[in-house]
Assembly symmetry: C2
């Protein structure tokens, strides 16, 4: 007989992971290597170390060690906001009338409001260990910038955030959180960098873009003594740190003899999805289990469902390494969508490889379908979800409704990456019936694919 | 040897309280009774039941039952966001260099952002049980309105919130959360009530006040078939529901053999403070333990530190029962302070009695002192606290610093009632050095006291 499952499964501190899991070590077919954007030669540790902290660059390239120890300082910080609960959605199941069992791993109970803090604290730690003065980064919606500010404040590092100007002006509260944690927040494009001045000269009054903010952050890092650039998603190092999500989930499920059938996560650059599914994919690759993995993305930015699997630039400035990934093209500008964290043209290389190998499925949803699920979830489960996370909710609800039709008692696990407390402009539009759905045409995508680099 | 204390102590579901604790039953000297505002006769169940749900009115008057069972439906809802963690502030202790041990009970990990949900769900439950269509209430800062919207959505009750007009306009995001949970939010004063129309005629363009919003909510409740009025603080029934905070804290401390010396809570109407300390005051009254209890309030609204202990009106409309309490006078308009939840002229009658009996101490702090503590706490403990909660943080830090001077290893427990995600306008002013401190003069208070009713 199985144990009674509580509403929320919390691990003991002693059950928290002591090492991150590096799935690439267990993959027979490795992801394609990063390439130098100019020479197209495989990226080297020395090359990456000019932009990133050295130990993070090592993690980026490490395809051999399946487990990488989590330093004690990071584990201590994790204890302040982890373990995160694995929640049994009893109320949602009842409301849907489904025989499916639904669980979600909730990462929103910290001031950054999302899972981003898992990697931010690791990146700040390695920067501190390397003796750096500080780090630079860009932020769009602001969750990554907030998480990094918190992490830098903890390790007493300087933190320079370039925030897309339109977000800087529209989201003053996110900015204030970062300021409260001592970060300097600069609206991008700015006069502080050469690329910023160039863009301002060419496009006076522009609201900026994520691509431009990346370029300003990288320029500032490489031109300042004692600084490196850090990034909140897309990179393998980030997915590595985020495996604390999946490892905790795995331990919690095992503790109660729960075997999931389907594991679902929203996907932008892939940080949450990769972190959640990696340990389970590992089981599957080792032949120990069989799961379905589903990535959920916005129909307005459908890299996994409609993109090309090809080498592409990771940033619009074309200064970061080339990556082989599912991409919509580095010039593709996703339509405004309130899930700002999912508006990236590409996808992490490891997840892209899993998709190409047929291990990872992908679906996309329109914005209104997502907010509909968000509202339903908020009312029933009592948590106001981030629009990004609500993509996974939508897919989980649909899966549970299919079980209702078929009578299958599937166990569904999804990642609830964060809360929507700073996304209420989107909710307001939904409440007012004013949300727009945008889906790119095939012709638009083809035009974008035609600009992919020849590698 | 004592067990190692984890960063966060979580109870098992089976350890959660099954009954609320009614401290009044254990008090030798009971709080003074509520009086009819017109006749000055003691308030009766029938009188209170016209405004409040009957079972809540019974709880308001109950001074005999020490334990009141928590209905199963409420306990099930509690499981979605409780037990809340009792956190050991290891990082704060280290930063302060104090020998004191600091714990905080964190109530902010739910979408209402505070402890308010503990009572909101109870009040919604009793309204549903009575077969009502809905409830009315007022909200200032918006935390109570949010909590009540969530609770009403869960029990499928209509929820009419009157939101002080100036807050309605300044805090559109709070309003959107309530709308997302299906509540109707009306800026007060409004054209929907007689009192609202009267005030609008007399003061066109007014931004409203909490007193006016109360009056509109009560008028709407008593004039609508199947509606009652509910309130988020001040009343004994609210403090009763909030004892889940103190009971969980007590169980968690006992589990690890921790004996607190000082218990600290912020105080507005008293809902959190009363709920946190009640079980510990009970121990003390029964001679089982000896604690210091400290209420912390804003210097701009100093009811417990500078108020009179006298009968006064609970609302500016003078329609609610008269209560004997520490008060600044029902006409006293506290200066604008970003801790909106602490801007109430009076104090719960039970807490007032404990203060008068010398059991409860009280201190006050200026706004900038409070935000200074808030920022320090956010940076070290990783949680951006509500301005209200930060009053307790300030007092706990000061107590810990005194321990540093004396070398005492005191154990300090404080209530961290909520998060500051919707209070960033206040943080912005603090970050800009633009926060003002206001402390009323003795003459101002004397003028206000002169208007206290003759009872």
């Amino acid at each position: 007989m199985s144990k009674e499952i509580p509403y929320k499964i919390y691990l003991e501190e002693s059950e928290m992971p002591k090492a991150w899991y590096n799935l690439r070590a267990d993959m027979a077919e490795k992801p394609a290597p990063l390439l130098d954007p100019k020479t197209h030669a495989p990226a080297t540790l020395d090359m990456l170390s000019q932009v990133f902290c050295r130990e993070l660059a090592e993690q980026e390239l490490n395809e051999t060690d399946a487990y990488i120890e989590i330093p004690q300082e990071i584990r201590d910080f994790y204890k302040m906001f982890r373990p995160s609960p694995l929640v049994r959605a009893y109320c949602l199941e009842k409301k849907l009338g489904t025989p499916a069992k639904i669980y979600y791993k909730f990462e929103g109970n910290n001031t950054s409001g999302s899972h981003k803090l898992n990697s931010a604290i690791a990146q700040a730690y390695y920067a501190k260990k390397q003796g750096l003065k500080g780090v630079t980064t860009e932020t769009g919606a602001g969750q990554w910038g907030t998480a990094l500010s918190m992490a830098c404040s903890y390790f007493d590092l300087d933190c320079k955030v370039f925030m897309v100007k339109v977000s800087y002006e529209q989201k003053p509260f996110r900015r204030e959180v970062m300021r409260t944690y001592g970060a300097s927040v600069t609206p991008s494009p700015s006069e502080t960098t050469a690329i910023g001045r160039k863009i301002l000269a060419e496009h006076p009054g522009t609201g900026g873009s994520l691509g431009c903010a990346v370029s300003e952050a990288v320029e500032t890092a490489v031109s300042s003594e004692g600084y490196r650039y850090v990034l909140g998603s897309v990179l393998n190092q980030v997915l590595l740190h985020q495996t604390v999500i999946g490892l905790e989930t795995q331990t919690a499920l095992r503790k109660y003899d729960i075997k999931p059938d389907v594991i679902i996560g929203c996907a932008g650059g892939g940080s949450n999805l990769g972190g959640l599914i990696a340990p389970f994919v590992g089981e599957q690759l080792r032949g120990e289990a069989n799961y379905r993995f589903i990535a959920v993305e916005p129909a307005s930015c459908p890299s996994l469902t409609r993109g090309r699997y090809a080498y592409d630039y990771a940033d619009t400035g074309m200064i970061c390494p080339l990556a082989k990934m599912y991409t919509l093209g580095a010039d593709y500008i996703p339509a405004p969508n309130h899930a700002g964290g999912l508006r990236y043209h590409g996808m992490n290389t490891m997840l892209s490889a899993l998709r190409a190998q047929g291990i990872l499925e992908a679906v996309s949803y329109k914005q209104t379908e997502v907010f509909e699920a968000a509202e339903q979830f908020a009312r029933i489960e009592g948590i106001l979800p981030a629009p990004e996370s609500s993509h996974a909710i939508r897919a989980a609800i649909d899966e549970a409704l299919r079980c209702k039709e078929t009578g299958e008692e599937k166990t569904i696990v999804f990642g609830l990456t964060g809360t929507g407390y700073f996304d209420l402009a989107g909710y307001a539009k939904y409440n007012d019936g004013a949300l727009e759905n945008y889906v790119p045409t095939d012709a638009e995508l083809e035009a974008s694919f035609s600009k992919l680099p020849q590698v």
